[in-house]
Symmetry: D2
Subunit: 223 residues, 4 copies
């Protein structure tokens, strides 16, 4: 998937960390249905806690946007995360016998803390672009994973998960986020962003966040 | 208007600053229709810029909330500000011949900078309650002003403005924000918040923000 | 005074706002000794409160630096402000009969709130450069004012103030801050920063902070 | 060690996580000299990167302090970290053949990212107390570890490290930080902080940071 002009360049700069994330053993096991149910539920609980922090990070992006257009985009994402995606998780977990209160009180694993707090700090330490570079691997990597798994079957016990991230709605969101990254980058770095002094730092942010996604899947395998 | 339990106490602590804000000459002129059109349009332009910063402040509140319930409330407010209230301003201004680009490029007056950046800093310097105490005078003061003007006529050239803030939708929003302030305060300070060490500081935040609202009306009278 | 390569360009971009600040009536009255004592003491009290917020802003810069070198510079400034400059103010005020507690409890004027909170927000909203552009007018403008007044006499009732800001120590600090701005700008925007998309925004930050400095002097004249 | 009134209560609330940190296998190996040199150097490199982030966190505390006294304390800590403790690390590493540039360019391990970014986020999400509760395990735990190892010998290949953290200067710093925690807590929560609604949240912050310290030692054992 391309999702715009900048994302493929950041992805290439991440080197082997990118496939280590998108083709992780957890992902393969989701796709072929071999993932133990306990691992999936454990992942869902941590992902619920993750989404809370991810919503905070997109809300931070609203405070760091330069234009009303950028604010609108980020605020719509916060709204979708809190009003659509969190309830989706709550529903799946409820069906598996986990109450929302159980979710909220679950202890965040260190791999979860590492990833989410790194993203938030990228925003506090830098500017809107730094934050987007740290947010991108999650949003767009899940799009790539979902599309890939769907194209290679997409059935089995985790068909719902695959249908969500491989489906048209989430793919449209990825294209929109890819477009936001492109326009935000050009507005700040001009037409040749890869030749500017800030480029290596943005690639490093993206790569670090990708490494932490790998850690998140590792954690998913150890309930 | 009471809008919950805490707001009336903060309002009382603000002493004469509160009526200086809610019964300001600008407000009276809005109510009796004597406000010059130039002053109203000038106010609308500055209020557009204000709303952008106010949206940022509510987004900051999302990042400082302790519970998903608090996050939901603040995220819904950000969404309403950016997707409903900003377009409302853009519409009124467009009808008066002011494009959105003109609005966005207008220079923020010092009184506007003072108020909005004080609110944002209250959030960065303190916690969720500090931010709510700085946000409260605007949200709830406009509710009080709108309800008062509507009860005393509400017609004339500024009837639309009065109908917006005095109307059921905005009044419901004020009651909801008053409830959020109450629950957030109790969750952090307990059942007798006025006896805790943080109370004077919260009253001071509310009072300072109220003083800066007075300055905003003063500014409105000097296009 | 040049204080590096970037500052003179930002100063030129500020147009008439710069002399409105550095040649303000308050400054002229400091220089020729005609400033009423009450105005000077009033200014000192507000400047004490200003320095507290300014220290917070330089501490924020520590959190937004990219290199240890940048951190060292900003941390040394925080230390100098809190351990040297604040006590200097406390000493002058004590000699005039104002205790530190009186200073700390004084009410910040709106012009003071506008300036300091704008600078802090520049840091939170943007990156290290945005913050430096908002900090620069105060640090370097005082250097220019001090040098100018010292070169044109520097005696009279406010000779101490002039000697402080026109003296070798403060001038050295200005050259160091000018150098920090230069190196930080080149590290992020390259060798031709004025041709990059971010340049107008940085000039606007500098200009807005300069406008707010004018407001601070205005406030100084109205105890 | 007690280091004030509040710290022992937070430490007790951390339960088994506290000894898991302060009596970790890495600590025991430091004390009896059995720690492989490679592990120690690996730890020093990560600790250098840690100290940069820790300096940022104490600088963030300056921006969140309520009084000049609190600001002074935190600014002095930033100064000591950047001007004394970082050079100490640079010196030890240089003696082992590692340049400062090598240190600065080393990749932060996930366990390091988790801990440091969690502390920074505690400050951004909450208030001064939240930040102190997240900072406390590192500062005071090292004091406890150093004092314990020194009292039980303190010689061997890591005698310098033990002498630093067990020595009078660092112990005095711990007592000062313990005092800051006490006074900051009383100023915000009153005389019975453990009975206030915020207490469980502060204990949780302290415990989470302690868990992440355990992870940091684990990381130290796997160069």
């Amino acid at each position: 998937m391309s999702y715009g002009q900048i994302f493929p360049q950041w992805r290439a700069a991440a080197g082997p960390h990118w496939p280590a994330y998108t083709q992780h053993r957890f992902v393969q096991a989701l796709g072929n249905g071999s993932l133990p149910r306990a691992a999936f539920l454990h992942y869902l609980v941590q992902d619920y806690l993750f989404l809370i922090q991810f919503s905070r990070a997109w809300a931070l992006a609203v405070t760091k946007a330069d234009t009303v257009q950028e604010m609108r985009h980020c605020a719509a994402t916060v709204h979708a995360l809190i009003h659509d995606e969190l309830p989706l998780h709550i529903g799946i977990c409820a069906a598996a016998g986990l109450s929302e209160d159980t979710l909220f009180r679950a202890e965040e694993r260190a791999e979860n803390l590492a990833y989410t707090r790194y993203v938030l700090d990228a925003g506090h330490a830098g500017d809107f672009l730094d934050l987007l570079a740290a947010l991108a691997p999650c949003v767009l990597g899940y799009g790539e994973i979902g599309a890939h798994l769907l194209a290679h079957g997409g059935d089995g016990p985790y068909a719902d998960w695959i249908a969500t991230y491989g489906g048209a709605d989430y793919q449209a969101l990825c294209h929109a986020v890819g477009g936001l990254i492109d326009s935000a980058t050009m507005a700040r770095l001009g037409d040749s962003p890869a030749t500017t002094p800030r480029w290596p730092g943005l690639c490093k942010r993206f790569t670090t966040a990708t490494r932490l996604e790998v850690g998140f899947w590792d954690m998913g395998l150890t309930p």
